[in-house]
Amino acid sequence: MALRKGSTLLLTQGPVIRSFAAVGSKMEGEGPLGPSFDLICEDSAFGQDSWEKAEASMQKKALDLAIQKGAFSPEEIDVLFAGDLLNQCISSTYGLRDLNIPFLGVYGACSTMAESLMMASLFVEGGFGELAGAVTSSHFCSAERQFRFPLEYGSQRPPSAQWTATASGAVVVGRQGTGPRVRAVTPGRIRDLGITDANNMGAAMAPAAADTISRFFTDTGYQPEDFDLVVTGDLAHVGSQLLLQLLERDGVRLEGRHRDCGLLLYDRKRQQVDSGGSGCGCSASVLCSSLLPRLLDGSLRNILFVATGALMSPTAVQQGESIPGIAHLLWLSAAPAGKE
C-alpha cells in the first residue's frame, strides 16, 4: 500500500506501466518527436465529418493501440480513467462508449494525463484491480472552436499563445509485470496568482507547477540531482522561464534538468506554434512517444512527470475572473535492472 509523506504518496508496490501508445496528426508528425509516434494520421479529420468526432476517434485509436501493444483484450482492463478538453469530455465518452470497460471521466485541462495516470496507478496499487487504463486527447480544431474562434477566422496570435496539440496518449498500468514503474504521486493544489490573459496560459500554470515540484522535494527529501529529468507539460516557453524563477525563490534549482512537453512536441523555430504546444494530448503524447520509451530502454532512470493544467472557463474569463492553474506530479522510474 501507499505510504503518505506530506501530500506525496509513495507507492511501495510500484504499479507497472505495461503498455502505451501515442497518436498524432500532421503537425505533430512534422515535429521532433514525429517518428516516435505509434500512429500519425495526416488527415486531421481522422476520416470523420466533425472535429469532435475526429478527436473521439483519435482517442479510441490511441487506447486500441495501447491495448494491442500489451497483447491485452479490452475485457481485461478493470477500469479506465479518461478525459479531454471539450465540454462534457465528449471525446472520451463518445470515443470510448463502445469499449465496455468501466469508465471514470476526468477533467484536469492539460494536466489530465497526469491526473488519469495517477488515479490508474493508485487503483492498482490499492489492489482494486489488475489493469487500469489512462487515456487523454486534445485536438487543435475542436479546441479552437470551443475556446477561441472559428478556424477560418482571421486573427493574430500574441507570441505568448500556445498551440493546442492534435494528439492522444494512452497508458495501461498493471499490478504486476515488467516495465517502467510509478514510484510516487503528488496531487496538485489549485494555484491562482491573478493571470487573466487566456493567451498566456503558461504564466497561469507556472505557480502550480512550482508549488507541486517544491512540495514533492520537501515531502520526500529527494533533490533534483536524484532525477534525470523534471518534465513539465505544457508551460511552453513563457511558463518554463517563470517556473525556473519561481523554483529558485523556493531554493530548488533544476539547472539543465527541466524539459517541457510544450517545447518538446514542436520545433518553435520551424513550426508556427508561438510559445509552444498545449492540450491534454500534448503531455500525454510526449509521455507515450518519448519519455516512456526512454524509461523502457534505460536511457532515462528516474524522471518527474508534472503535467500542468489551466483550469480556464471562457465564461469565467469573460466575467473577469483570473485563471486557476494545477499541476500533478508522478515519479516514474525505469524497471530495476536484473529483476523480473
Partner: protein, 145 residues
Amino acid sequence: MGLTPKDYQQMSQEASPPSRTVKNGAMAFLIGGSICTLGQIVLELLKSMGMEQDQASALVSLSLVLLSVLLTSFGLYDRVARIAGAGTLVPITGFANAMSSAAIEFRSEGLVLGLGAKMFSIAGPVLVYGISAGVLYGLIYYFIR
C-alpha cells in the same frame, strides 16, 4: 511562496515576449492599404465605364465581400490575417470573414441552430454597436445641424 499576485504579474510581463508592434503595424498598413487601393481601382474602373458614384461604391463593397468570402472558403484568409492583423480586420473584408468563417465552422451543428444562430457570434457585436452608434449620430445630427 510569499509572492503577491501583483509581483507575479510583473514577473509574468517581463517573461512574456511583447507583440511585434512595429512589424505588425507595418504589415497592417501595407496589406490593409492594398485592400483599400484595390477597392479604389475597382471604383475608378466602374466610374470610367459610366457607372454612378453611389452605385459604383456599393458594387466595390460587394466585390470585396465576395473576395473575402472566397478566400475564407479556400482557407487562405486566416493565413493572410495572421500576418496582416488589423489590415484584414478593419476593412469590410474582415466583417465578411467573421460571418463566413463562423458559418463554415458551425455548419456541423445544423443549418438553424448551427450556421444560422452562430453566424453572428463574432459579427453580432459589430452590428449591435455599429447600428446603435449610427442611430445616436443620426439623432445628434438631427438636433444640432
